[in-house]
Each structure stands twice: as C-alpha cells, then as structure tokens.
C-alpha cells in the first residue's frame, strides 16, 4: 500500500512536471561546529535543499529532495523529505504522498504532534524542518468556517531515527552492561493491520484556537526486550531487541490571547504505552544465575504528557516559557522513568537594526535531573535571502536527557543562501 501510494504520487508528479515548468526554491547551507571540550571539528556539513512545486486552483504537487555532504566529498546523503500531490475542492483537500504533518501548539516539544517521526541523529540540534521526517500517507481535510477536520491514514510505520553507535549523540543505554542490540524485530511490516490512523479537529477563532486529536498508532520510540542473557568470561552478556508497540492516543491543544499575552496548553493521554524497567547490576546478576524464562523488561502503562506555556512581548523582546510534565498513571516503582518528570523551556528573542541582526536564546531545563541545554545564537540577515548564524549548544548537568551530553558543548557557524 505504501509503495502503491508512493507510486501514484510519483507518477502523477512526474506527469505534471512534464507539462508544467515547476517553480524551484530552496537553500544551500554550510554548517561547521567545533567541540568546546577539545576544539575538534564535530560538524562539517554542506546542504542543498530543493523545493520544486507547481499547481493550479485544483491540483498541486511538491517535491523536496535534499543532499547532505558530510566532512568530505566522500560522504553524501541524498533523500526526499517530502513528495506529494494535492487535490483541492471548495470544502476539502486531499494530500497523498510522503509528507510532514505537524500538529499541536508546543514549541520544540512533541505531545500531540505524533504523526511525523523525529530524526534525532543530531539530538534536537537540527533545524526544526530537518528534525521531522516525512511519512507516506493520505490526508484528507474538510473545512467549514474557521474549523477543519483532518483524517490521516499511514500505511507504513516510520520510527524515530536515533544516532548511530559511535556518534557523539548516541544516547547512554540505561543498562548495567553495554548490551548487544539485535534489530531483527524493530521493523513493522506494512499491511492494513499495521497501518496507523489519526484524526484532528481544529478551530481558529478570536476567543481561542483549539485542536482535538486522536490516533491509533505505533509508538515511534521502541522499548527493549530481552532476547538472551548469558555469562561469559568477561561477565554477563546482554542481548536486547528494540520493539515498537501499539498505543492509542487522545489529546487536545489550545492557545488563547489574554491582554496581549498568549496562553498555550497541550495534553495527550497515551493508552498502553510500554515503558522500560530499571535494571541494576544486582538484578542483572540474579537474572543470570536464575534458571527462569527470560522476563519482560518493560511494563504497559497509561501515560500523560502535558504542557502549559505563556508567550508575550516585553519591551520589544519576544518571550516564551513552557512547563512540561510527564506523568505515569498507576505507577510501578520498578520503572526506569520517574512517576512525574518535569521540564521547562525558555525562549528570548530580540532584533536590532531593522531586523537585520537577531539575538536568540532557547533553553531546555530538565527539572528532575537538574540538567539543561542552552542554545544562544546571533543571526545576521544580509538581505536577498543570505543569512549568517553564530551559535552555541551548551549542555549542563551530569545525567538526564541533556546532562548525558555534557562533553558535547559546541560552537557553530552557519551560512545559508535561500533562493
């Protein structure tokens, strides 16, 4: 089905491209980054991002191929971020193909934004449009007044993309010994039974904007299952299999203007989410010595992910603060995650010299672990689409989502030309 949808959209777009001269836009970007710790160059990347599109009042298509060149010319990554066909009617739109679908009101946090999986090969440091992967899907949207109903069918599941082993962004694996990872069970075969469905109703009004969302999906993030455990000369050898699990999701998001401020909120209940159990060295040792069948090392729980946020402009500075809570219902003490985990984000932005120079700070703060990621940057707009950015990624803390990268503090420079 996935191939069928891809095939249809590709054929139609090829046909359209033959009789119409598409518009061509995009950008070329150079990106260099240096680790503050040892001064080594951690990133040397050139990117060409193209957007070809054309259409009329009824049909439109878009193709978004990209090329990344890493470190030297011998390492190229070529791909298609989006490739889709649109069909417009007065009160509904249909989009078929590989597409990014972004829902929710949160910034840099993913709560009801559950369709397009994430590409975390460079943790959360890529530009937003590069973090979100496209999904091959069919989306139909119905419109009435300022409201819209979206229905999405995803015939093939796409998982979150994590950094490869050896990457400076590879996350710490939370097990007493370095496990062997067997990826045999990670892929979900495309079939009707394995497809995902999502729905959203969104309304824009003067009083409030809100979204109601629901879905039956695969968890983009896998949990590990124990495949084998044996004692070797070097100690216990742990082989794990990452596996994705089904879950149902329901949630809402809103924003409301209040006297020049904007109050934002978002919450989702994940029903049947699998969560990893904690494993201490002693537990591992007793597992090795016991003759019992291999136990499950995850538990199924209901889980709520919520956010409350305020946006305002104070003395010309755009400010945004978000408080995020993750809560596990019917909590079990043996889980690796805490029952309640909190995070905050803070964004400050100011422009100078008629918006040619911009200063920005985006900060993630992990409240439970006392860690943080600070992302200050300074940008200069030369005009005509040419821009330069100088920034830093500063990780603080010893543990947690951000503290684990404490040695990856980085300075970077980007120059980008849009055309």
């Amino acid at each position: 089905m996935n191939q069928f949808l891809k095939g249809i959209s590709l054929s139609l777009i090829s046909f359209a491209a033959l009789w119409a001269m598409p518009s061509l836009n995009g950008y070329a970007r150079h990106y260099s980054g240096w680790l503050i710790n040892d001064g080594s160059q951690a990133v040397l990347q050139n990117t060409l991002n193209l957007e070809l599109s054309d259409g009329n009042g009824k049909f439109a298509w878009k193709a978004n191929p990209y090329i990344y060149q890493y470190n030297s010319s011998d390492s190229l990554k070529i791909g298609i971020r989006q490739l889709y066909l649109d069909y417009y009617r007065e009160n509904f739109d249909l989009r078929i193909g590989h597409q990014q679908i972004i829902w929710g009101k949160a910034d840099g946090v993913f709560i009801t934004d559950i369709i397009s999986p994430k590409n975390l090969e460079e943790f959360l440091l890529r530009d937003f449009e590069e973090i979100r992967s496209g999904v091959t899907s069919a989306k139909v949207s119905f419109y009435r007044g300022s409201g819209q109903l979206d229905l999405v069918w995803v015939p093939q599941f796409t998982a979150t993309k994590f950094p490869e082993d050896g990457s400076i962004w590879a996350p710490t694996k939370p097990f007493p010994v370095e496990p062997i990872i067997d990826y045999d069970q990670e892929n979900i075969a495309p079939s009707l039974e394995n497809s995902e469905i999502f729905g959203r109703y969104a309304l824009m009004s003067s009083t409030i904007d809100f979204e109601l969302i629901g879905g039956y999906a695969w968890d983009d993030n896998p949990v590990y299952a124990l495949k084998s455990l044996q004692l070797t000369q070097d100690g216990p050898e742990l082989t794990l299999q990452p596996r994705h699990h089904r879950l149902a999701i329901g949630g809402f998001a809103f924003n409301k203007p209040i006297s020049g401020w904007v109050l934002r909120g978002e919450s989702a209940l994940y029903m049947g989410k699998r969560l990893q159990l904690a494993m201490s060295p002693d537990q591992l040792q007793s597992l090795v010595q016991s003759a019992q069948p291999l136990p499950s090392i995850s538990l199924e729980k209901n889980y709520i992910h919520s956010l409350i946020a305020f946006d305002l402009n104070l003395l010309g500075i755009d400010m945004s603060t978000q408080i995020i809570q993750e809560a596990i219902l019917d909590y079990d003490e043996s889980l690796m995650k805490e029952e309640y985990e909190y995070m905050a984000t803070l964004m400050l932005r100011e422009t100078f010299f008629r918006e040619t120079l911009s200063l920005e700070l985006f900060t993630y703060i992990g409240i439970n672990d006392g860690d943080a990621l600070l992302r200050p940057k300074i940008g200069y707009d030369f005009g005509n689409g040419l821009g330069f950015t100088l920034g830093a990624n500063i990780f603080t803390g010893d543990n947690g989502m951000f503290g684990q990268y404490d040695y990856n503090d980085m300075l970077y420079a980007k120059i980008r030309a849009d055309f």
């Binding site: 836009n25 950008y27 259409g55 009329n56 009042g57 439109a60 417009y88 739109d93 990014q100 972004i102 530009d127 937003f128 449009e129 979100r132 949207s141 419109y143 300022s146 819209q148 969104a202 824009m204 003067s206 904007d209 924003n255 203007p257 006297s259 020049g260 401020w261 904007v262 946006d311 305002l312 402009n313 010309g316 755009d318 422009t351 008629r354 918006e355 040619t356 707009d381 005009g383 005509n384 689409g385 821009g387 980008r416 849009d418 055309f419």
Partner: protein
C-alpha cells in the same frame, strides 16, 4: 414653530461646521472615508538605510471589511528566506485587541502571536503596526493648527495628541486635503516631543470610485532611514471569499 426653530438650529450648526469644522470632525471624515469592502494588492516595501543600502520585500495582500471587524491576510513572496510566510490580522471597531497569527513554513505551523505591541515595527520597516492600521479619532484629542497649501492642495493642518499615556508618540501633525479627506503628510513626534518620522503620500488616485494611496514613504528623520510602500494591481470590491482568512489558506498560500 418649535420644529422650525430646531430645523434652523441644525441648519446653522451645519453651516457653521462647514465654515469652521473642528479637528475631531475632520479626522472622523478621514476615518470614515469609504475605502471599499475588499482591497487586493501586490505590495512592495523598500527599506533604505542611512548608507543608501536597499532591501525589498514583496507581499500579496487581501483585506475585507466585515462591518464591525476587518480581516487582513498577507502572503510574503520575497526575499527567498521569508517566502511562503503568511500573516493574518483581525481588527475590531470595538477597540478589542487585534488577533494575529503567523505561519512559518519552516515550522509548518500557524502560531498565534501576542498583539499588544502595536508600537513594534512591521518587518523591520519604519511603519509600526499602529501606523499601518486605522487609528480611531476618539483615541486622540485633535486641534486645527492652521490651513495651508501643500503640493498644490488646500489642507487642514491638524495636531493630534493621544489620550492614553503609553503611546509611543507624544503627538502627530497631519495635513488633510480638503474635500478629498486624505492625509497628505504626517509628522510623528516621539515621547520627548522630538520630530521622529515623516510620512509623505507620493501618489493618490481614484480606483473604482474610491480614493486610494498607492505610494507612500516613511522617513525616520532621527536615524535617516526610509521605507517606501508601493501598491500595484489594486483591486477594490472584487469578490473575496471569507475562506481566504483561515489557517488553511495561511498554510496553502494563494496561486
């Protein structure tokens, strides 16, 4: 007899006003000058700094008057780094805060933005959001300073002082063309009473029976930079579907 006296009083009052209109009435005439229910235009905003460096932004704009409120949507066409960005504003006669949204194609998301910063400059230009909107005359006290001829037009020169304390301008002086009720020139004075900016109308013409201003320039005299706005392809009272002022169109754009 009583009716005759009332009628005579009204006639004399109107006659007196025609000869000696007050500042508020003149500004109301400008505010109430018919502009059409819908306006479509392609807008070029040229920003020049004190060194003469030029930056241009092009925008396609749709505006519709719904009686007690007005909706405006702008689609950015150039430069390339802002292409496909859109901005929507709903403003209300009641004085309630404007509703504003922006669609950023990199985020693929429509964001609501805080709108109490009417004194913020629009897209790096010399126009604030307030300058680009229609300020209700009731928000200011108006006084006729004099009558004089400017660019061959007989004008009233009106001084307007805001009633609220937190306005970014201490006062403005506007040259209003008699009979046409168009502001031909406007000087803006900062909170210290120093001359900050001058708006000059460089072209005005009638389109479909309505007076419109296709070219104007704002000159910041303190920093010596300028913003020129030129509107082309102006269409007035052309049918504009209400559905254009929605999240759907902000994301999709117009072709």
């Amino acid at each position: 007899m009583k009716k005759r006296i009332i009628g005579l009083t009204i006639f004399l009052a109107l006659n007196l006003w025609a000869q000696n209109p007050d500042g508020h009435s003149i500004m109301m005439k400008v505010y109430e000058r018919p502009t059409g229910q819908t306006i479509l235009s392609d807008l070029t905003m040229s920003l020049t700094n004190s060194r003469g460096d030029l930056r241009e932004r092009t925008i396609q704009q749709f505006l519709k008057d719904f009686g007690d409120h007005e909706k405006k949507i702008m689609f950015f066409k150039a430069p390339a780094d802002v292409r496909n960005t859109s901005f929507m504003n709903w403003s209300y006669d009641s004085g309630q805060d404007d509703d504003q949204w922006i669609y950023l194609p990199a985020l693929k998301k429509v964001k609501r933005i805080a709108s109490d910063s009417k004194s913020d400059y629009f897209m790096g230009s010399d126009f604030t959001y307030d300058d680009l909107g229609e300020r209700h005359p009731d928000k200011d006290d108006h006084k006729i300073l004099r009558e004089e001829t400017l660019n061959g037009e007989n004008c009233y020169v009106i001084e307007s002082r805001p009633k609220d304390d937190d306005n970014m301008y201490s006062h403005t002086i506007t040259w209003i063309i008699k009979d046409k009720w168009i502001g031909l020139k406007k000087e803006f004075y900062d909170e210290d009473g120093e001359h900050l900016k001058t708006l000059n109308i460089q072209k005005y013409e009638q389109i479909s029976g309505y007076w419109v201003i296709p070219i104007m320039e704002m000159h910041n005299v303190q920093k010596d930079h300028r913003t020129r706005i030129e509107m082309k392809n102006i269409k007035i009272n052309q049918a504009v579907d209400d559905g254009i002022f929605t999240e759907r169109m902000m994301q999709r754009g117009v072709r």
